[in-house]
Amino acid sequence: MPKETLLELENLHTHFLTDNGEIPAVNGVSLSLHKGEIVGIVGESGCGKSVTSLSVMQLVPNPPGKIVSGNIHFKDENIVKASQKRMKQIRGNEIGMIFQEPMTSLNPLFTIGNQIIEAIRFHRKISKKEAKQESIDLLKLVGIPRADEVIDEYPHQLSGGMRQRVMIAMSVSCDPDILIADEPTTALDVTIQAQILDIMRDLNQERETAILLITHDLGVVAELCERVIVMYAGQVVEEGNVREILKDPQHPYTKGLIRSLPKLHGDEQTLYSIPGTVPNPGLKKTGCQFAPRCEFAFDRCFNEEPELYNLGDKRTSRCFLYDKKEGDAAEHAESTLGS
């Protein structure tokens, strides 16, 4: 049953204007997020996943960043050209966002209460007292003990995990339709990670908040998401159901990513790693962006840019191996992967 589409990016291009020319950090990303869904975006550092999420909020630092082309449909509205006034209404109210660094994401000079109450009162006309009560309830919701004391404390008095809970409480204070979480657990240790993920799952189930989870951790994606989008060099390279992608990755990059995960019951001596590094986004290159690091690459990969091929069952992959014309190569890849 197709659910209502909340957010849809269409061929989004966000570029950074630097002294060394224009760098396409996000290079034609299309994706969609439906009501109540949790979608993961994974990729290495610098693949453009954070910039994609900041673009949605129009929070890309400008200058030097700029959305050059593409559309961002939020509900029935194209917000790529929305006024600052409209964006102010959307941010925090209809789309909430949490960030990677809980240690620095809260203003050190204001109390927790002040910062949450402010978030509430930006969007709703309620008294400070009501907002404070609501803030305490929110803190309890995200599992903060002694919430009525914490509300008067300053960020430096809390641990990283607590601060991230505060960030979550703050970002969902106006019950947004979408929560964008930009590496919410990266800076936290593993037990705290699990707790934060639980909170987000609960929010998703109880409030039907759609979550766009940006991470480089496939474990986090497996834990939380239904659908995953793999990004490489500013492009979507593969998309599909989490379980299917983890079990049977199609794009060589995703294959490499999954192969480089340590296995619980493996007997490898050394961990696999994808050869080479993420290309410098400043260098313009023809052909597939992944080709230089790809073990299946053939001539065409260096000359033409692959499109996202539809593999059926809502799966796509940006690789010539799935071009119907390249049937032999795909078979070749299939057999290599089996080994």
Binding site: M57, L59, P61, Q84, K88, Q89, I90, R91, G92, N93, G96, M97, F99, E101, T104, S105, L106, N107, P108, L109, F110, E118, A119, F122, H123, Y154, H156, M167, M170, S171
Partner: protein, 333 residues
């Protein structure tokens, strides 16, 4: 906060002791016999002995210092050699004059400096930014006496808008209560005089405030630029805050701390070192008082003047330190 305040106050004690030791030593560091220096080369032996007797210069140093500090604690700053008057009564109106001028100079400097810095950072690389930073550069580089003379020439002599010197119309002096003439004229309910007093304040305030203003503007700008790129500012934006609140609430409170240091230091400098400006504008302040004392080798006045200026400097730094901990809850020494 209370513990911090107490600790900070306790730290004052060694500073104050050190200060009095230095000012006490001034008289004794003069080469040769202080009484001889004070009275000049032609003084007779008996006159020198009399002065030594009256100043207690024959006593051992620790006793002399003890007497000096005891006198200070009772508000006795000694007697001027030149006017034979109590320094404490002589210094008060001059202190008030300097305070009043410094207050208005810093008001001008902080208001314009901080706002220019904020807007420059907000609209980085805009024409406003370039213009403001150009004027800030001119401001810090400009010789103050030249600016003061140009002001007098333009606004007093050529345009005749503002008085060129003094605190008030000398033909119609105010009856002092607090020696802060703006306050005094207010207490007398004499508003036309208040306007007169304020008019007298404008030119020297601008002359005195220009360098601090330029420094504050540059400092605010760089501090704001740093803060504006921080994660918590992005968070505030993500909450849906308007730009004004982002800047004047969240960014400014973080950016103001280094600026406060500069404001404190500059205020201290103005309180003690406005000799040039006070001379050009015939402002009867403490800078000129000490300057005249130096001309007449009035050592007790020099001694007390330095002590008072140093004391004010210490007090301003105390206030700045207390403000830090008020603004930033993390500051606990």
């Amino acid at each position: 906060m209370f513990a911090y305040t107490m600790r900070r106050l306790l730290m004052l004690i060694p500073v104050l002791v050190g200060m009095t030791l230095i000012t006490f030593s001034i008289v004794h560091l003069i080469p040769g016999n202080p009484a001889q220096v004070i009275l000049g080369e032609t003084a007779t032996e008996s006159a020198i002995q009399d002065l030594e007797e009256s100043m207690g210069l024959n006593e051992p140093y620790p006793i002399q210092y003890g007497v000096y500090v005891t006198d200070l604690l009772q508000g006795d700053l000694g007697t001027s050699l030149r006017s034979k008057a109590e320094i404490s009564t002589e210094i008060l109106p001059r202190l008030a004059a300097t305070f009043e001028l410094t207050f208005f100079a810093m008001l001008f400097a902080v208001f314009i400096g901080v706002n220019a810095g904020i807007i420059s950072a907000w609209k980085q690389n805009s024409w406003f930014d370039f213009l403001a930073m150009f004027f800030a550069l001119v401001g810090v580089s400009m010789p103050i006496f030249w600016l003061a003379l140009m002001e007098q020439w333009a606004f007093a002599q050529e345009l005749g808008w503002l008085p060129a010197y003094g605190r008030e119309n000398s033909r119609d002096p105010i009856e002092p209560i607090t020696y802060f003439y703006v306050l005094d004229s207010f207490f007398h309910m004499d508003f036309s005089r208040m306007i007169q007093v304020l008019k007298h304040l404008i030119l020297p305030s601008i002359a005195l405030g220009t360098i601090p203003m330029a420094i504050i503007a540059r400092m605010t700008r760089s501090s704001m630029l740093e803060v504006m790129n921080s994660d918590y500012i992005r968070t505030v934006r993500a909450k849906g805050s308007g730009q004004f609140l982002v800047i004047y609430k969240h960014a400014l409170k973080n950016a103001i701390i280094p600026v406060l240091t500069v404001i404190g230091l500059q205020t201290g400098v103005l309180l003690g070192g406005a000799i040039l400006t006070e001379t050009i504008f015939s402002w009867p302040g403490i800078g000129r008082y000490v300057y005249e004392a130096i001309n007449y080798r009035d050592y007790p006045v020099i001694q007390s003047g330095i002590l008072v200026i140093a004391f004010l400097f210490v007090m301003i730094n105390l206030i700045v330190d207390l403000l830090y901990s008020y603004i930033d809850p993390r500051i606990k020494y």
